[in-house]
Symmetry: C2
Subunit: 232 residues, 2 copies
Amino acid sequence: MNLKPIQLFDTESSTFTYILATQAGGEAVLIDPVDEHWERDLEHLRRLDLKLAYVLETHAHADHVTSAGKLRELTGAKAAVPSGCGIPPADVQLNDGDVIRFGGEEILVLHTPGHTAGSMSYVWRNNVFTGDTLLINACGRTDFQSGSADALFDSVTKKLFSLPDDMLMWPGHDYKGQVVSTIGWEKQHNARLATRSREEFVQLMAELDLPKPKRIDVAVPANQNLGLPHSV
Amino acid sequence: MNLKPIQLFDTESSTFTYILATQAGGEAVLIDPVDEHWERDLEHLRRLDLKLAYVLETHAHADHVTSAGKLRELTGAKAAVPSGCGIPPADVQLNDGDVIRFGGEEILVLHTPGHTAGSMSYVWRNNVFTGDTLLINACGRTDFQSGSADALFDSVTKKLFSLPDDMLMWPGHDYKGQVVSTIGWEKQHNARLATRSREEFVQLMAELDLPKPKRIDVAVPANQNLGLPHSV
């Protein structure tokens, strides 16, 4: 677990943003930056003397707005997004198996649908960034925005749980102060997915009866435009 | 900047706790754990299959209570503390230049007085954990608990600023959502210490006129007992 990301947090939406980098003066990648924190994120890049190569989105978020478009304008970084998320202004539309290269490093793109149909996870060295597909001892909801409990079950049990047991798992959110897990622990203990059959999991997710996310009607269209104002 | 710590946060006191580890199944060190989060911290150790070797304190905190004593009881880890902080129940009393060894790794102990007379910073690979001596674009207060602006000026400008410019600087607190800096950036830009003379810095610190920390009368004696209840 040698190479870890820098992890930042938005207390409003409990969203994690990640900075991937290996050396001061080198290139960096940001995953899931939050609109309100674009200055904080740029300050980190400046302090660590990092050149932003890519901004990655794991999906089109329903609970916060991305700063990907703004950061692209300010830094010249490329915005790379899942091809199935309807984000046409991005520079790169990512598909399963694609590799993103920055500063001698490689990030593998894994299509992990379920929270949304387009959701991606990103593997960098011994770390996987699972967005809202797999959370620590939990998983993302599957009841809106092209979500599918069936698809999420496959994404987690077939794709993510096939990664090495000691791989660090960095989620898109946490609501209990936890910050990191491992694939091995989630495979054995995840409260929703470790021991349930597909049918039991689909039934559980159908019965959650969660409220509609407060910001979804604003956030999703905004995120499909990289967080930039829509031209009139 | 390859080897980074895992960084945890206490929203109540804005305190950072750090987990240092290199591989699942190996040994780990915790720096400045917070009483209320001992279960969260143990959950991280369990999920990453880490054996806690040491709990380190940077100083006897005035704003929160440590869980060092509790974690020692529950895990068998040793509590290692600055020798000048009046924490007699600790297993190891640390002095400047000492080296702490865990899982093939080394942590160098640097005495950096100023926030308190005993305050230590810890250097692990390309990371330094500065406690409340040096904060991101700021520094700890020096007006109580054996603090000294004079001593802090020396600790930062002579000791911490002598570390490599690209060394990551992980503070004991942040109040603005920042999480990490570098020695080089702080040396050039730190709002309190980058450009001031000793006299200007001492005067600035004397004029801050900060309120007394709410929990100091409870927290300091508790921390001098590793956060354990005092025997009657």
